[in-house]
């Protein structure tokens, strides 16, 4: 029984460390290779020993696919390929390929240089790892080998994020990675065609949330910023370098442009600057507006947003600053925050979630006095705002995607178990497909019934077409032929051709049947009566009376003879080939009913 097996090594009923093993029609594919942000020990990387204890990974995996550049989807890649050892192909989209090494390098720096970890991957390893990457375009079908093919679809979420369809023969799996069904200021909405996969593996971060319109959020955000700078206040927006930072930059930039504002906007140099460079390049991956207007002006060539210098923070007058990192736990954003916190005219806007224990979390939960290092107490007088700009699909969006792809079954990953449970019920209820949510290390096995293509000879097809009207689109139809299985290919040909090809002689198969009839008349007369009876009942068929006294209906032969013992009983000998089985058996039943009494 053919089957698809799925085992999450990470992201099963969990967020972070995305890594899913899929075996489909004998091919093994690994989807994503992420790290977990919550752990600093071995648990931060997926347990690759699950795949093979001893022996090389390359022998077991046909390919690795990375959906996008977030570290929880690609963070373990150098470890996996260089330290554990994998030499096969790694597939990702062009923007992911470009941005991924920057983030990996940054991650390595923090882990090794700041935290001083040993036995971590090196810069060289990142470089070596990236050499194994094969970049793919959207909607490009890539043949991994003769049978396995993959295809990328647009996923929104971040620049270069993609959903992947993995296909072997007629069996297919779609893995969504992270995606967003509502377009935003710089990215479009995820889209997939009706590819009807056997299995759809979808993320479910917001399984139990239906979000409000993004317009209200945007408007609120812009209004807050605008009001503050009009009052002469300074606005601090702590962000992470990639993704939302660009979204907010575009949002503010266009607003500044529209409203003709002159207040300076800065973003902190470093990673963001580097990343913006790539955003400028990969215009085709952005949304309609940016794609259409980039000929006049590339939206990422910011006119109003300039690079930040440490000295600017003390400048008088209003300004807006994007600074990293996003949770105010260290670095530039915290420095600026300390400078500005004392003035009630200023404002800090937190555009995302903050982990417990960070300054960001503290001020969001309303704390007004913060203890800083060195026993200093910082009084926060500035306004604190929270705006959620998330780029994951909400429950409605997930359902919409499932509706678009029309899968046979769904598997949920990248979410919390409790929330998944709700969505699982919903999916089963609305779409009537089975839905799974395996935990890490748990294997889901899906039986499949792959369709097997059979080639039909043109002659046979034409012969069939000639017999009747056009075949109805969705109705099965009976067809006679011979199925030849040879060299793992199937062909349907007419029996004559099959015989010829196989070099076999044709055997005739005839059925004969005797029908006993009470009749005292002569054989000839008997035959004549049979003839006239059949002639009158079978109007559509060719009934003939042959000179030798036998009757033929099409190719069926009927002969009358006297019974050897009882002359009062006549025996009708009916004989037909197996091709005429239908007509033959009909005739015998007809004759068994007896001949009608002749009106003599």
């Amino acid at each position: 029984m053919p089957e698809i097996r799925v085992t999450p090594l990470g992201a099963g009923q969990d967020v972070g460390r995305s890594c899913i093993l899929v075996s489909i029609a004998g091919k093994n594919v690994m989807l994503d290779c992420g790290m977990h942000m919550g752990f600093n020990d071995d648990r931060r990387f997926p347990d690759f020993s699950y795949i093979t204890q001893n022996g090389r990974l390359t022998d077991f995996l046909d390919c690795v696919i990375i959906s996008h550049f977030h570290l929880d989807h690609c963070g373990a890649l150098p470890y996996f390929s260089e330290m554990v050892g994998y030499d096969g192909p790694i597939y990702m989209t062009h923007p992911t390929q470009a941005i991924c090494p920057i983030l990996l390098e940054d991650y390595r720096k923090i882990a090794v240089d700041k935290k001083g970890e040993a036995n971590f991957f090196t810069s060289q390893m990142i470089k070596d790892c990236m050499k194994k990457v094969v970049a793919v375009h959207l909607h490009q079908t890539v043949q991994v080998d003769d049978e396995l093919e993959i295809k990328a679809y647009y996923a929104g979420h971040v620049l270069g994020a993609a959903m992947f369809q993995i296909k072997v023969g007629s069996e297919s799996v779609v893995y969504t990675g992270d995606y967003n069904m509502t377009p935003d200021r710089h990215l479009g909405a995820a889209w997939i065609d009706k590819c009807r996969p056997n299995l759809l593996i979808t993320e479910s971060t917001y399984a139990t949330t239906i979000r409000d319109s993004k317009r209200c959020r945007e408007r609120d955000f812009l209004k807050k910023v605008h009001e503050t700078v009009e009052r002469g206040g300074k606005v601090l927006i702590p962000v992470f370098a990639l993704g939302r930072a660009q979204e907010l930059c575009i949002l503010l930039e266009t607003f500044w442009e529209r409203m003709n504002l002159k207040v300076p906007i800065y973003f902190s140099t470093g990673l963001t600057e580097k990343a913006n460079h790539y955003y400028k390049l990969f215009i085709t991956w952005t949304n309609q507006k940016i794609r259409k207007t980039f000929v006049q002006r590339n939206m990422f060539e910011f006119k109003h947003i300039k690079a930040f210098d440490r000295a600017f923070a003390d400048n008088p007058g209003p300004m807006v600053v994007f600074a990293t990192p996003g949770m105010l736990h260290a670095g530039q954003s915290l420095q600026i925050f300390r400078k500005w916190a004392g003035n009630e005219k200023n404002m800090v806007i937190m555009p995302g979630y903050c982990v417990q224990g960070t300054v960001g979390h503290k001020i969001l939960s309303g704390q007004r006095k913060l203890e800083m290092e060195g026993r200093q107490v910082l009084e926060v007088k500035m306004q604190v705002e929270y705006m959620s700009f998330s780029a994951h699909a909400d429950a409605k969006g997930i359902m919409q995607l499932v509706g678009q792809a029309e899968p046979e079954s769904v598997l949920l990953v990248h979410g919390e178990a409790k929330k998944m449970e709700f969505l699982r019920q919903k999916i089963e209820q609305e779409f009537r497909v089975s839905c799974y949510m395996p935990a890490n290390g748990e294997t889901v096995t899906l039986p499949t019934s792959p369709s097997i293509p059979v080639g039909i000879s043109l002659g046979l097809l034409k012969q069939e077409m000639a017999q009747g009207l056009l075949p109805e689109a969705k109705k099965p139809r009976l067809l006679h032929g011979t199925l030849i299985m040879k060299d793992s290919s199937f062909r349907l040909v007419s029996s004559e051709q099959a015989l010829k090809e196989l070099g076999l002689a044709e055997h005739q198969l005839r059925f004969t049947c005797r029908v006993h009839l009470q009749d005292t008349r002569k054989e000839q007369e008997m035959a004549l009566r049979v003839y006239s009876h059949l002639k009158s009942t079978l109007k559509d068929h060719c009934v003939q009376h042959l000179p030798d006294g036998s009757v033929t209906v099409e190719s069926i032969l009927i002969q009358a003879a006297a019974h050897s013992e009882d002359p009062g009983i006549k025996v009708l000998l009916v004989s037909w080939t197996y091709q005429d089985e239908e007509l033959g058996s009909f005739l015998t039943t007809l004759l068994k009913k007896g001949l009608p009494q002749t009106p003599s």
């Binding site: 509502t182 377009p183 200021r185 479009g188 909405a189 889209w191 997939i192 065609d193 009706k194 139990t208 949330t209 239906i210 979000r211 409000d212 319109s213 993004k214 317009r215 209200c216 959020r217 945007e218 408007r219 609120d220 812009l222 209004k223 807050k224 605008h226 266009t254 442009e257 529209r258 409203m259 003709n260 949304n287 309609q288 507006k289 937190m350 969001l364 939960s365 309303g366 306004q383 604190v384 705002e385 929270y386 429950a395 409605k396 359902m399 919409q400 509706g403 678009q404 929330k419 709700f422 019920q425 919903k426 609305e430 077409m465 009207l469 056009l470 689109a473 969705k474």
Partner: protein, 964 residues
């Protein structure tokens, strides 16, 4: 058959010969073309290979065929068709047959037998499809012939089983276009022919080819368009197609569902998987709403558009479209809109948001949440958030239409529309502002909504701001704070963009007159008056102060208590503004003062009728002119022209008519004067000096006639004839004058011929109007045409001269509605003393802003002219996008003109003016053959001449020499 065809060909040949003989006998100047069919026959016989034949056919298709020779051509083509083996040639012939049968004046019933005949023997699918297309062309031409229709339908049904999708497509198209509308009694008698076209087409909804499915739906829609009532069963079939794999099928199915829902809105359909039943229109609405989140944006646009026109849908369903139940971690959450409303009603409007302000409230029953509503839930929420702006615009339009028909829905959709004011694409923002204006009768803005609306006033796009001003003109504001807010924001806008002055003043005028009671309590604050102290008198020239005054004075018009709050200088300012900005400041009843303007207004209305009468009378008086002596006629004309001009100045509504007729009379006057000249009696050598007046008159008449033809909107064909006739007279006059003043005959030849061509052209264009021109110049001219053709130029001139003198004055029928095109350049104002400096050789951009009234098709006709002091003139074609259409008959041109020149020593003025370009030959109708035939690109109509129609504005510029 072949023999018969041969004979036909022969007939054609002989006919040609006869015609040519005729031509020779009468010595006509015109060239006649040799018969088409004969030439074609020869060509096709010559063709050695299919490729050659195809080339000949292609060449042949480039030229038009007259109606009388079509049949012959068709016979030739058919004959060749039978012989031809190459399918591509047959395909071309089949397509030519279709084109030919469309020729006006040709009845294709004679070729229908042949066409059906060849259809039966054809093997190639492509040719079959083309032949069916030809049959469709024939069938639509013979729409009233029932027998042929049924025959063609039969043919189509027979080929429906073809294996090629192209053929099936065409068959369905044929059925859709020709399928019998109702089964008449006669056809029932015939038995077989009465086919149920709908059923047949419906069967192909499940065809295996998506293109055929689409064609089937389109055919069904075509039936509907032709007036056949579709069965309700179609609805269920169409619903199944909504989940088709192909977008064009889904898109067409959405249309079909919409059509059925309009036909049977009230019938009841069951909801699957439950016992309930709902109205069909509601069900269809739900289904189309569902398509707003389809995978293909084409379908989404289609669905969003159609939603707008489903007005019968019940309000319960309608309001669902704006509803999207929010939740967070399985707990119910309120939308930002709901929160805003709540904050507003609880009285604390502008609270800063805290984290967790939007914290979810009650727990949700997991079973009750329906994530994929089959109903209309949130359709517009999705549509307005769509990735493609085309979908968003369609959704906004649909919202607008639905809101216009349902006030309660209008109230609900307000929040969403306001949100759209912040869309990233300007077009969408603009559209939503316009939408809001259209529904503003039904709504009152809440303060928080007003706040969002007003925030857009800072937009840098002028269109957006002006649209917003127009919106504010007709919005209802609920509180005095709202009015105050609006005023403050508008003043802010004024300081930021001073060019918006006029628009803002106008906006405040309406705002004031709509909300007098809300303005009243604000007056002391706005005028900064103090009960005890005198305050300083504000600056009268400050636009912001004028804006405030406009608001107050307009409010005071309906609020008599208000003037009591004014201080002395306010009254003085009122008097000043009433004079200088009378269109913005209404007449007020001020205590102790006379009504300044009371004398003006009552005079206007009763005046109307007599002036109309006066116009008619004076024109009639003129038209009896031919009986008067020339001297008296001239005087009468002069008087009448003067009267008409004065009338036009006094009565703005009659200005168009008066001007139009005055111009015509002036032409006549000039003509009479020119003919009265002494020069006609003087010997030849003396002409030179005096002929000035006559030729100048001819030239001026020409100019005036062009103005009459192109500068007035609402000119009908009967006026155009008269105008052209006048022009023809002017041309004749010109010819005579030239003939008299030039020596030698050679140049005259050309002029004569040209003139005769003009006459010919006139005759061809206005053949239908000729009876109207009894006894006129052209009437006589056409009588003498054969003689003129053969005469020498000198003779022609002589004949023309006598005819010109004898010709009568034609009565100019007045059109119903006529307006003179006019333009005013608002910017540049032309007052600046500071020259615009730029480096010579480089360009400087000059903003031009002008309003155009009653200009038809301004995109192609209006040009900007720049005249440099050295006499150099430059014509600029503004882009079509530079024109805006703020109201009927009104246009606005906002463009940039690029100036450049070599260096000057002194700053100097250039003149900027607007021109109206015209092309008189654009009126000739084109033949359908040329339009249909391939390979004949439409020749772009060129400019023949221009008429200046705005006052020139002087701009001071100074090109400086470039510094090295």
């Amino acid at each position: 058959m072949a023999a018969h065809l041969k004979k036909r060909v022969y007939e054609e040949f002989t006919k040609v010969v006869q015609q040519q003989q005729e031509e020779i006998a009468t010595k006509k100047l015109r060239l006649t073309k040799p018969s088409k069919s004969a030439a074609l026959h020869v060509d096709l016989c010559k063709a050695a290979s299919p490729a050659d034949a195809l080339q000949y056919l292609l060449q042949f298709a480039r030229k038009p065929v007259e109606a009388e020779s079509v049949e012959g051509v068709v016979r030739i083509l058919l004959e060749h068709y039978y012989k031809e083996n190459d399918p591509s040639v047959r395909l071309k012939i089949a397509s030519l047959l279709g084109l030919l049968s469309k020729t006006a004046g040709f009845s294709p019933d004679c070729i229908i037998d042949d066409a059906i005949n060849i259809l039966q023997n054809e093997k190639s699918h492509q040719v079959l499809a083309q032949l069916l297309d030809t049959l469709l062309a024939i069938g639509t031409k013979l729409a009233e012939n029932q027998a042929i229709q049924t025959r063609l339908v039969d043919v189509a049904c027979k080929h429906l089983t073809d294996t090629s999708h192209g053929v099936r497509n065409k068959c369905l198209q044929l059925l859709g276009n020709l399928g019998s509308l109702e089964k008449s009694v006669t056809k029932d008698a015939e038995g077989l022919t009465a086919r149920d076209v709908q059923k047949i087409i419906g069967d192909y909804f499940s065809d295996q080819d998506p293109r055929v499915r689409t064609a089937a739906i389109k055919a069904m829609l075509q039936l509907h368009e032709r007036g056949l009532k579709l069965h309700q069963t179609v609805y269920n079939q169409a619903c199944k197609l909504l989940s088709d794999d192909y977008e064009q099928v889904r898109s067409a199915a959405v249309q079909l569902i919409w059509v059925v829902s309009q036909l049977y809105p009230e019938s009841i359909v069951p909801i699957p998987s439950s016992n309930e039943e709902i109205r069909l229109v509601d069900d269809a609405f739900g289904k189309i709403c569902h398509m707003v989140s389809d995978g293909s944006w084409v379908v989404r646009v289609q669905a969003a558009k159609l939603l707008g026109s489903m007005e019968q849908v019940s309000s319960h369903f309608l309001e669902q479209t704006l509803d999207k139940k929010l939740m967070s971690d399985l707990r119910r959450k309120r939308t930002a809109h709901e929160r805003a409303k709540e904050l507003y009603s609880s009285g604390e409007f502008s609270s800063g948001r805290k984290w967790g302000d939007d914290a979810p409230k009650e727990e949700i029953d997991t079973g009750a949440v329906n994530l994929i509503e089959s109903g209309a839930c949130g359709a517009f929420v999705h549509g307005l958030e769509d990735e493609m702006y085309e979908v968003r615009i369609a959704a906004v339009e649909a919202l607008c239409m639905l809101a216009q028909s349902s006030p309660s829905f209008a109230e609900k959709c307000l929040d969403f529309l306001v949100d759209m004011f912040n869309d990233e694409i300007e077009e969408v923002r603009l559209q939503s502002i316009h939408t809001m204006r259209k529904i503003s009768n039904n709504i009152t803005l809440r303060e928080d909504q007003l706040d969002t609306v007003l925030a857009v006033l800072e937009d840098s796009s002028r269109d957006i701001r002006e649209a917003l001003h127009e919106l504010l003109c007709c919005t209802n504001v609920s509180t005095k704070e709202g009015i105050h807010l609006a005023l403050v924001e508008l003043l802010k806008n004024l300081t930021k963009y001073p060019t918006d002055r006029d628009s803002i003043w106008k906006c405040l005028k309406f705002l004031g007159s709509r909300h007098p009671t809300l303005v009243l309590p604000l007056v002391p604050e706005l005028l900064s008056t103090h009960p005890f102290f005198d305050t300083a008198e504000p600056d009268m020239d400050d636009p912001a102060y004028i804006a405030v005054l406009v608001l107050i004075f307009n409010a005071a018009k309906t609020c008599p208590t208000m003037p009591a709050l004014f201080s002395d200088h306010t009254f003085r300012h009122y008097a000043y503004l009433r004079d200088s900005l009378s269109h913005l400041v209404p007449a007020l009843r001020l205590p102790g003062r006379k009504l300044v303007s009371s004398a003006v207004s009552p005079n206007i209305t009763p005046h109307e009728d007599p002036s109309q009468q006066f116009l008619q009378q004076s024109l009639e008086r003129v038209y009896s002119l031919q009986h008067l002596d020339p001297q008296g006629a001239q005087e009468l004309l002069e008087f009448t022209i003067r009267d008409l001009q004065r009338l036009g100045e006094l009565q703005s509504e009659l200005a168009g008519v008066a001007d139009f007729s005055a111009t015509y009379l002036r032409c006549q006057l000039l003509l009479i004067k020119a003919l009265q000249e002494k020069l006609w009696n003087v010997a030849a050598p003396l002409y030179l000096k005096q002929s000035d007046l006559a030729s100048a008159a001819a030239k001026q008449i020409m100019e005036e006639t062009y103005k009459m033809e192109f500068m007035y909107s609402g000119v009908e064909n009967k006026q155009v004839v008269i105008i052209h006739h006048m022009r023809l007279q002017a041309k004749a006059l010109q010819l005579i004058v030239t003939a008299r003043t030039t020596r030698g005959v050679d140049p005259l030849f050309g002029m004569c011929e040209k003139f005769l061509q003009e006459v010919d052209f006139f005759q061809r264009c206005f053949i239908a109007d000729l009876p109207q021109l009894q006894d006129s110049f052209v009437d006589k001219l056409l009588d003498l045409m054969p003689r003129l053709m053969t005469s020498k130029p000198a003779e022609v001139v002589k004949i023309l001269q006598t005819m010109l003198r004898q010709s009568t004055f034609l009565h100019l029928p007045l059109p119903e509605q006529i307006h003179k095109a006019s333009a005013t350049i608002i910017e540049p104002a032309g007052e600046s003393d500071n020259p615009l400096r730029f480096t010579s050789g480089l360009v400087v951009a000059l903003d031009v802003d002008a309003t155009l009234e009653h200009v038809q098709d301004p995109q192609s006709t209006v040009k900007v002219q720049v005249l440099y002091p050295d006499g150099q003139a430059q014509m600029i074609h503004p882009k079509p996008a530079d024109f805006r259409n703020p109201g009927p008959g009104r246009h606005r041109l906002i463009t940039q003109v690029y100036l450049s020149h070599a260096a000057w020593t002194e700053p100097c003025q250039v003149e900027v003016r607007l021109l109206l370009a015209y092309n008189s030959s654009a009126r000739i109708p084109k033949s359908p053959w040329i339009e249909g035939g391939e390979g004949s690109p439409q020749v772009e109509t060129s400019i023949e001449g221009t008429i200046p129609f705005s006052k020139p504005v002087k701009v001071y510029i100074m090109p400086k020499p470039a510094r090295r």
